[in-house]
Amino acid sequence: MMKEKLEQIKAEALRQIAASDALEKLNEVKVNYLGKKGELTAVLKGMKDVLPEERPKVGQLVNETRAEIERVLEESVKKMEQMVREAKMKQEVIDVTLPARKNNVGHRHPSTIALEEVERIFIGMGYEVVEGPEVEKDYYNFEALNIPADHPAKDEQDTFYITGDILLRTQTSSTQVHEMEKGKLPIRMIAPGRVFRSDEVDATHSPSFHQIEGLVIDKNITLADLKGTLAEFAKELFGEGTKVKFRPHHFPFTEPSAEMDVTCFKCGGKGCRFCKGEGWIEILGCGMVHPHVLEMSGIDPEKYSGFAFGVGLERIALLKYEIDDMRLLYENDIRFLKQF
């Protein structure tokens, strides 16, 4: 009898659950059957009329029924909630193609990007970054670099002078001398910085630009070491496939001296308009530090040797980013800067 009644209650509850189309209705079912005044509770209240020996059995039955209703109810609530959420999300569809809200982060100057690249590469190879003065003594810019008074190279470089003895440095090579004079060996340094030459402003010239000087001094440094180091540098900067070519050249402060070309990074060396069909692009000057330069800075050339190189930063930036006019680098037009 009791069992039948419970079956009946269960069937009715499950029917009502199935018929519910909103969370509130499911809640009603819950209250009506499982609540304090609900039907199952009423059955339990009627337990006093059941024979004591049957009570455990009936109790178990009631509990089973309750558990079943609860389970189904919970399942339905979950389903219902999911439906409600989905319906809500359907209302919340946005147009993802609307414009982004950006933080408008600023941009680094292309020359600085190139500089940081170069610094990263050489720091990784154990080089220290050092700086030297931009307004410099004639001695450091020329004389100590084997360019004595009356040397033609002094004219070629078109120097800005402040006084007879003080000038705007024409090359970061002056920093080499300061570093060597410190007397701490071995040296592995790069010195980035601003240099000045008396060139009128045009698409390929600027009276002020940037160079990075490199200097290594140690025992047994060879021209082969120079080649190997700069070949690594070129690969890091322009890509793994980059090849280098060294051509003999002349600088007063190095001997032997060379200029380094890299395979054109646009055509890979086949020859294109960018490299004027040559497949190679001139990138830097370098050489073995002249023994007289070592002597002047108090380093014994019989014990130590070294190499030095100088890279034009703007040249790298112009090449890497295909910028066709150097003036853009100093105009600071935001439409230009934003591209880097």
Partner: protein, 806 residues
């Protein structure tokens, strides 16, 4: 330097290579070839033709119909050229051939011009007779060519043969970039020697021999050199019975290919020898040389001299002059005088080949304002040994070309000549420097090719005097490297004591500055270090403002670049203005660059170079945006103490009510503010602009990347809001000072959340509201703690005339 390959081959006859191979190999051995051009480029199917018959064109007055024998047949060609006659031999381009340019001598088309048989006014024409311009050349190179019209061969050429060959156009002109140390390579012989060494072919320099006419040069001329230092050697020879006429074609062609216009045999010989030997020469008409005496001496200050180009030149005592017994006849090494100029009537010529002090010539050329081919060569410091060789070569050519007779002997006034440099042969040293393993024998073979002799007994290398660049062992090592091949030297990495890569602290701080500026929307600009002194007026700086004490450049590119900047603002404002005028919206820029503060003027020691972090913006944002960037930057480099902003910054170029000094621990680190409207006007900006300038050397002592973790608070915070009516002139900074000083240990934070001036507030006051947070690290605060702290704060505020609003 441009030289025809045929000229090089005259001394290296076994040279066999393509143009590209030549260029690559020479460049790799150190004689850089910039480029080359084939002189027969776009010339195809062009033969020597002979005009057999000329008839008028039946339908055109200006055209003629020619029957031209081209060796294999006679073809008909119609032309409008006015200058041909029957019997003339001319270059003829055949049907299907090509010429390089048009008859007007304009720029050459890249692909050339194809020639096809066709009809002119109804008459068939099966080719074209060519002018020198159509052959891609000009009358400078071929002075015998007519000004307008067909080139006519004057010499005997075979009908039907290759006309390009006959014109010497099967040749390539190479352009060399010679480095300043290789004085010997500013000559055809020098380059030929390098070519021979590079390609391992024998080198045959000219064999110089002069017959002479039996006379004695000392009967004609005497030479006195007053300043031996400026003129270490002066060679003079004399030629008589000079017959001026054109020089032979081969000489004209070679000169033309080098870019030198053939003039006449005498001028051409001096130019030819200058190219060939790299030794400039001068020819005087001996009749114009007073007393038949040459004196080499310095000019006097204030002297004026007319050079042979007709220009008056101002001289001074540092300019070396060539004089005769009475007057100056030339500026040494630069240009001869009008008064001794060679004319076509010349009978007796005095040749001069001298060696002058290179530095002096360079300076003189600058001062006199005249740089010539000759001075360009002299200023490199020529080998005095070369002067005698060159003058003899010129005399040889005089004889060979039938230009005149050579008087025996040479007047040679010569200081002691430099002797050959000798160096011990140290093959191991060279290999050690190069990182190579070149054998001793291979090195000696290289030396042999470049005329460096080896004395096996003394183990010495003897350097020829023309190689003025070889002075030390490292120079020898370079010779080994060049001819062994830079490409064959291995690639290794230095192995020695390991070193640590480092970016110094200053540069790390600058990197941080860039990062923060960019996070805040500022893009990096770059500005010049020099600017115009007018900048100070544009920035409204007072007459005695210390910033006006700037370093001047003694040789600037013009007033706009004449002083080293002492403030960084002009560059920033100029850049903002550029953007503004190009209608770019909302621009934010920053710059990291030095200013240059002299320690005294005129400069006796190097100035103080101070890195400035300059920010500028217009458009969206205001003073407080700029202030935010400063504080973000300070946070990021560990300046966590209180920053004070002093409104009395004293900057004329900023809005007087909207500027502040940035002060940290009592030290001024920079300033910020709104740009003064008048300054904006001066830069043509019709907008508000804001700037901040931070002095990095002042900041760096406070900067640190050290951080220490403080435990995250465990106990709850208590917040109190206060709302005040504040006299207008009191700055919130003063309120904050009171809160900070009186809040006690439990004060955690305070935040302005409202500030208002207007109707509801009485005149002369503003409403200010703060939210104050208290918290203790070790316990939950009691109400009494808060009340006590708040009471102290409120008392302090009331003391400033601030009323609390309820």
């Amino acid at each position: 330097m441009n030289t025809a390959l045929s000229w090089i081959k005259a001394y290296v006859p076994d040279l066999e290579c393509t143009d590209q191979e030549y260029m690559d190999a020479m460049t790799l051995s150190g004689t850089k070839v910039e480029g080359y051009s084939r002189r027969d480029h776009n010339l195809d199917k062009i033969v020597v033709g002979q005009i057999e018959k000329i008839e008028r064109h039946p339908d055109a007055d200006k055209l003629i119909v020619c029957q031209v024998n081209i060796g294999t047949e006679v073809i008909q060609i119609v032309t409008g050229a006015p200058n041909v006659s029957e019997g003339d031999k001319v270059p003829v381009v055949l049907d299907g051939g090509k010429v390089a340019g048009g008859h007007d001598g304009g720029p050459l088309p890249e692909e050339g011009i194809a020639i096809k048989a066709g009809k002119l006014r109804g008459v068939p024409s099966n080719g074209m007779m060519c002018s020198i311009e159509e052959l891609g050349s000009d009358r400078n190179m071929y002075p015998e060519a007519p000004e307008l019209g067909i080139y006519i061969f004057k010499e005997d050429v075979e009908v039907g043969s290759d006309a390009i060959e006959a014109l010497g156009l099967h040749d390539t002109v190479f352009e060399y970039e010679v480095t300043s140390n290789r004085v010997d390579c500013y000559s055809v012989i020098g380059i030929a020697r390098e070519a021979a060494a590079t390609f391992r072919k024998p080198f045959y320099p000219p064999q110089v021999f002069v017959t002479g006419n039996g006379g004695n040069v000392e009967d004609y001329i005497s030479v006195e050199v007053e300043d031996r230092e400026l003129c270490p050697r002066y060679c003079a020879r004399v030629c008589t019975n000079i017959q001026i006429g054109p020089s032979p074609k081969w000489m004209q062609r070679r000169l033309a290919a080098s870019g030198i216009r053939p003039i006449n045999n005498l001028v051409d010989i001096t130019n030819y020898v200058m190219e060939e030997y790299g030794q400039p020469m001068h020819a005087y008409d001996l009749e114009t040389i007073a007393g038949h005496k040459i004196i080499v001496r310095r000019a006097k200050d204030g002297d004026v001299f007319k050079t042979l180009d007709g220009q008056e030149r101002n001289l001074d005592a540092d300019v070396l002059m060539i004089c005769d017994a009475e007057k100056e006849v030339g500026i040494a090494g630069i240009m001869g005088g009008e008064n001794s100029m060679i004319t076509d009537e010349v009978k007796t010529v005095l040749f001069e080949a001298a060696s002058f002090n290179g530095a002096n010539i360079r300076k003189s050329a600058k001062r006199v304002g005249l740089r010539t081919d000759a001075s360009g060569k002299f200023e490199k410091g020529l080998d005095p040994h070369n002067a005698a060789a060159a003058i003899n070569r010129a005399c040889q050519l005089i004889e060979e070309l039938g230009c005149g007779e050579v008087v025996d002997g040479m007047v040679d006034v010569c200081s002691e000549l430099k002797t050959e440099v000798e160096l011990t042969f140290e093959p191991d040293r060279y290999n050690r420097l190069l990182g190579t393993d070149v054998s001793k024998e291979e090195m000696l073979e290289i030396f042999r090719r470049i005329e460096v002799q080896y004395d096996a007994v003394e183990n010495k290398l003897i350097i020829p005097t023309f190689r003025q660049d070889i002075l030390r062992q490292c120079d020898i090592a370079e010779e080994v490297a060049r001819f062994y091949g830079y490409d064959k030297i291995p690639s290794t990495l230095p192995n020695g004591e390991a070193t640590t890569g480092k970016l110094p602290f200053k540069l790390r701080i600058e990197q941080k500055a860039r990062d923060i500026a960019e996070y805040c929307g500022f893009s990096q600009g770059m500005c010049y270090s020099f600017e115009s002194p007018k900048v100070f007026d544009k920035l409204l700086l007072g007459a005695d403002d210390p910033a006006r004490r700037a370093i001047s450049i003694s040789n600037p590119l013009g007033e706009d670049f004449s002083i080293m900047r002492t403030v960084s603002l002009n560059g920033m404002l100029t850049s903002l203005a550029t953007n503004y005028n190009r209608r770019n919206k909302d621009v934010r820029l920053y710059e990291l660059g030095n200013i240059y503060i002299p320690k005294g003027l005129p400069l006796t020691e190097l100035p103080d170079e101070r890195m400035q972090f300059t920010l500028g913006m217009y458009g969206e944002g205001d003073f407080f945006t700029m202030k935010g960037v400063i504080e973000e930057f300070f946070d990021s480099i560990g300046l966590c103490k209180k920053i004070t902003y002093d409104p009395n910054a004293g900057k004329n170029f900023l809005h007087p009510g909207r500027q502040a000094k940035v002060v940290y621990e009592g030290c001024e680190l920079g300033y910020l503010g709104e740009v003064h409207p008048e300054v904006c006007d001066n830069y043509d900006m019709k907008t508000k602009a804001y700037v901040a300038v931070l002095d990095m050397p002042a900041i760096i002592p406070y900067a640190t990347f050290d951080r220490k973790y403080e435990g995250i608070a465990k106990y709850p915070a208590v917040m109190r809001d206060i709302s005040m009516v504040v006299p207008k002139e009191i700055m919130v900074g003063q309120i904050e000072d009171v809160i900070a000083q009186r809040g006690g240990k439990i004060l955690e934070e305070y935040q302005l959340f409202d500030i208002y001036e207007g109707n509801q507030i009485k005149e002369g006051f503003k409403s200010v509201a703060y939210s104050i947070t208290f918290r203790a690290k070790d316990r939950t605060l009691e109400e009494s703690d808060i009340t006590a702290a708040m009471k102290k704060i409120l008392n302090g505020l009331e003391g400033m005339g601030i009323e609390l609003r309820s």
